[in-house]
Symmetry: C3
Subunit: 359 residues, 3 copies
């Protein structure tokens, strides 16, 4: 249900320090830590001696010391110390995972280690560019990550689930245009001219009159999502729009739980720290609403034995359906060739304000 030969987000760079952080990705328990030289290390969270989690131990001089019998492992995973004896058992080795840091994020590669090419990391430069200011957050959702992708590829749910922040009747009522790019990316575009601004946009625009709004749900399989939103008062030019490019970075934890790392870059009021916090809170509230729904949906589907989502004659389903197809193709490719890799595709072009596909 998930591909392995790709980079998944493992955390924010800022949260990984000289202490052990325990996480699970694709059912693999790991610890993340940073050496005194500044390198992030990700290794299996399991002492090869008595099989207890290394995360119960501590970091001692760039070595992980098991909390049970004191064995130590260095940043290569090699056993560096056994209390009470001189010889070091070579077979006593902790598995390492390829790791990278880019765009203020820590990335992990869970597939074949020798093909972990950093050129395959998706371009998410909005996360650390001086032209954008970012609000960030994290939540864990007890649901299959594919349901989260479905949710992000059909934003008509905003009208019903997110009435308090970004939803309004205009979202569900406006038609969408769907395009597929490079076997990796689906884009679902929707224009909403001359509408009343939902609460969160009234806040960021500081404007309660009519606005033009557009929205593009961009999904790069298996778990990178950007939901660009542009808004501007009807009397102003599109080129001057306020744009946010929320990034929803999904990494499966287990079959039925997902890490949801997110950042909301904006191209306006870059130095307004208060706005950064307001956006952080508003978006966190919005995603909590998604979580409630997605967790119930997952439980219901589990109770039914995880049936396929039915394909009904509902137009807004085109986005989620295309997203599932891209994922199925990647899974099939990796099944046929366990060393297959999947080059990323650019999510958005900064050089111009995003235009609808037909223009």
């Amino acid at each position: 249900m998930w591909i392995k030969n790709c980079w998944y987000v493992a955390g924010f760079s800022a949260e990984i320090g000289q202490t052990l952080t325990a996480r699970k990705f694709l059912n693999q328990a790991v610890i993340l830590w940073r050496t005194s030289a500044g390198n992030v290390v990700i290794m299996e969270d399991r002492c090869p001696h008595r099989l207890v989690p290394l995360s119960l131990g501590t970091l001692v001089k760039d070595q992980v010391q098991c909390g049970y019998h004191g064995l130590r492992f260095d940043e290569k995973g090699a056993c560096a110390h056994v209390p009470g004896q001189e010889t070091l058992p070579k077979s006593c080795q902790v598995k390492l995972f390829p790791v990278a840091e880019r765009h203020s994020l820590v990335w992990i590669w869970l597939g074949e280690a020798d093909i972990a090419d950093k050129a395959l990391i998706p371009d998410l430069h909005w996360m650390d560019s001086p032209d954008w200011t970012v609000s960030r957050g994290y939540l864990r959702i007890n649901a299959d990550y594919r349901l989260l992708n479905d949710n992000l590829l059909d934003l008509s749910h905003e009208t019903y689930v997110h009435k308090e922040t970004i939803g309004s009747g205009a979202v569900a009522d406006s038609p969408v245009t769907v395009t597929v790019d490079g076997g990796r990316v689906v884009r679902v575009h929707r224009e909403m001219p001359n509408i009343d601004p939902p609460p969160l946009f009234a806040l960021v625009l500081n404007h309660t009159g009519k606005i033009n709004r557009w929205q593009v749900a961009i999904h790069m399989a298996p778990g990178i999502n950007m939901t660009e939103a542009g808004v501007h008062p009807v009397e102003t030019d599109r080129a001057l729009a306020h744009i946010i490019r929320p990034l929803h970075l999904l990494t499966p934890e287990t079959e039925h739980s997902t890490h949801y790392f997110w950042g909301v870059p904006r191209n306006f009021r870059l130095d307004d720290a208060e706005l950064t916090v307001q956006l952080q809170k508003g978006v966190a509230h919005t995603f909590d609403e998604d979580r409630d729904f997605l967790e119930i949906q997952d439980r219901c589907l589990q109770a039914e034995g995880m049936p396929s989502i039915p394909q009904t004659a509902v137009k807004v389903d085109v986005g989620p359906v295309q997203g599932r197809r891209l994922l199925a193709a990647l899974l099939q490719r990796e099944k046929e060739d366990p060393r297959a890799v999947h080059p990323p595709v650019a999510l958005a072009d900064d050089s111009r304000v995003t235009m609808p596909p037909a223009l």
Copy 2:
């Protein structure tokens, strides 16, 4: 383990209004609601679009609106609105269940829909007759409904489990007479002449001297039970007895949980509202004692893989054993013919005070 071609109690009429109530019966999740015209509707609690529970949505003008993407369904289960499009997908249909209201109860039919004949609803007129005043209540017991039937068919447990309300040594010590009627009803009759009144009967009689008491456990498979109790001071005539006819209306929720709707009709002090409340509290307390036992019994049996209850040489087991036989016969009949129905049998005759079978 349960028959489907019969009417099960789904709730009290008074609790179903113009709002969505979610319940599960025989593992089937449903929503119950009432149209503005006053009709109760029961439909599957599952949106055919993305399979989330409709109970997360709201009722909008006699239509159920899904809380996720806003699809609406009318009281026939047909899709009546899809946001953003004109055409309505005909295949997008919510399953309806036959429903009836009678005796202040809502009834659901979970078997073959076209044979749901309202003439098959059991006669429980004591629930809404002017000659009886009813205390009501509900509890959910995490146990196989068959254990609840067993419990109601062997009331000797009152002596040990219900010492504080209706139990006394006389119950367990008095012999029973068991009769079977129409392949659907078991009656277990017990006379207890000249005994001290247990607390709840001393309360309803307002009398602490010796009484005559009788009790009839009446079980109509699969889940309708009446446990008539008659009491009168020894110096008065049986025809003047105070009678209560507690109805225990059991609807399986899952294999190991049961809805327990109950009413306690009485034929005396009809206008005494305080007594109605006292009986409500006393009976609720009594049933809570049953629940504790039944839930432990179910867990123990589950741990043993649900063995058959042993048939020991204990006389009071005749009632439960006969009840299980009736159920087995109904299950067998429905297995042989999925369209078989099971006509109800009258539980009790109001025209005279219930007499022991031999008289």
Copy 3:
């Protein structure tokens, strides 16, 4: 995973009185009670009538009365009373288990009943000898009992897990000598001369200067453990050492939970009641630290499908490895002959201070 033809500790004598105590051993639920004549009875916690736990009932005149329908069973497990009838059903019988009391402990035999020879009870006379004063306690650990044995056979964990009471670097750094005795007992001896006393030993010696310390982990399969500790100031003679002989009496409850009855006999300050309490608290704290680790270890192993613990080139593993071998041999023997018994071996010799194996 466990042998049956041996005596397991079922409780402390002092806690079993004329009331019902419910426990589970090797997945067998039982009740323990004491007759008015003072004999302990252990019987299955299951009424043969409706299969509810007898522990929900009460003791009535040396008979167990079921809390559901009032059947009574005597100390032989025979049905002694059925309410409402004269004849007693002979087949209605509760299973009894062989029981013994020795060394202030209650013992149960869960194997073939007719070979339950009291001569097979291990000698734990330190628990009730006038030459020793005992602190006692109990905890339940949600882990496979074999992990508890492993833990007690490799005390190098004290350095890391029990820093606050009995651990110091000296434990993990000192080499061990392992001996095996009689196919039933493993001893792991460790000398730690001229060290700083860990907190609990500074307390019992009332001395913070250098000490000599030794420690012997003695394991009698399947679940009897003694971890003798001797300490004395370096300037005094070994023969005057303060000795504690903690007994860790492990009885599996289920595959993943263990009863941990313990006593800490000491040979010094026998009348110091305050010290008895201090030791009780210190040891209880220490074992709670073990519990945290062992429960996590068990959960991790369960998630991996209970793999064998790897055999790594770590010297302190010799003790646990030998312990597992003894257990495997006993299991194999009992598999080949379900009536095989396993004679106990003396744990320690009181006539002299324990000396290292080589001296």
